[in-house]
């Protein structure tokens, strides 16, 4: 997102590639003026989304790609993570705070995304796959920037 406030990254479905996303994203967010705390929480949310795309979307098939797009538009950081899987129904999620789920080893990823971002939306991509959109309002000097500006 250096000059035109956007970037695109396509990675194979391997967990180690999450680190690549983190490095590129962190660099971009730093240039946008986000402080280290804000970058950390965005990083956690994106990690969860990319991990889900690799694990549940693409079933860790390394030939399938996860695409990460980020842009700043009207003072809002918008990050989209797309997989090539069979799709996903967020309505099927269980509540990780329910007493019966508290000690389950999984089921917290989307909850963390929603905790650390302002909005998380799920959709389908043409031809199959899930699109997760993470949004975070920016308070710094980039708040008034528009993509492509």
């Amino acid at each position: 997102m250096p000059e035109d406030n956007r970037f695109h990254l396509a990675i194979g479905s391997r967990f180690e590639n999450i680190e690549l996303v983190q490095v590129v994203l962190n660099d971009s967010l730093e240039r946008l003026g986000l402080d280290s705390d804000a970058r950390h929480w965005v990083d956690i949310a994106v990690r969860e989304a990319v991990a889900n795309a690799i694990k549940h979307g693409n079933a860790q098939d390394p030939s399938k790609v996860v695409e990460v797009d980020a842009e700043v538009d009207a003072g809002e950081l918008v990050i989209r993570i797309e997989d090539q899987g069979a799709g996903f129904d967020p309505g099927q999620l269980s509540d990780p705070l329910a007493p019966e789920n508290l000690l389950k080893p999984n089921g917290r990823g989307i909850f963390y995304m929603r905790s650390f971002m302002d909005a998380v939306d799920y959709g389908s991509r043409p031809g199959g796959g899930t699109v997760v959109t993470l949004r975070k309002r920016l308070a710094g000097p980039q708040a008034g920037a528009r993509s492509g500006s």
């Binding site: 180690e16 950390h40 969860e48 909850f111 963390y112």
Partner: protein, 111 residues
């Protein structure tokens, strides 16, 4: 993630360093706790002071380690949580599940 195991006053202490994230330390943590418990440890303390990042997989492994220890008659406690790790455990209310201590001495005395 780097993991070091040491003994102090009858407590098995696991010092973790770096990221506990999917594919980077999550399974390693569970295996280390299981090994300690299977070797007879009854008091296990996880020192998180140098953990920089934890994701839901890392949290899941902490939970799995906690229940595995409990099921084998051992106690697992946490010490030296960095603020961001504490925040991650707090939002999912797990901070109320784990026994958490500020200092190693305090944690050791609690067993």
């Amino acid at each position: 993630m780097q993991l070091n195991t040491r003994q102090k006053e009858g407590v098995t202490i696991l010092d973790l360093k770096g990221k506990i994230t999917i594919g980077a330390g999550d399974v390693e943590l569970r295996n280390a706790v299981l090994q300690a418990v299977n070797d007879g440890a009854k008091k296990v303390l996880i020192n998180l002071s140098e953990v920089t990042t934890i994701d839901s997989s890392g949290v899941g492994e902490l939970v799995s380690s906690y229940t595995a220890a409990k099921n084998r008659g051992a106690q697992l406690k946490l010490v030296n949580l960095p603020p961001k790790v504490q925040d991650v455990l707090t939002v999912t209310q797990l901070i109320t599940v784990f026994d958490v201590y500020d200092t190693e001495d305090e944690a050791i005395r609690s067993f």
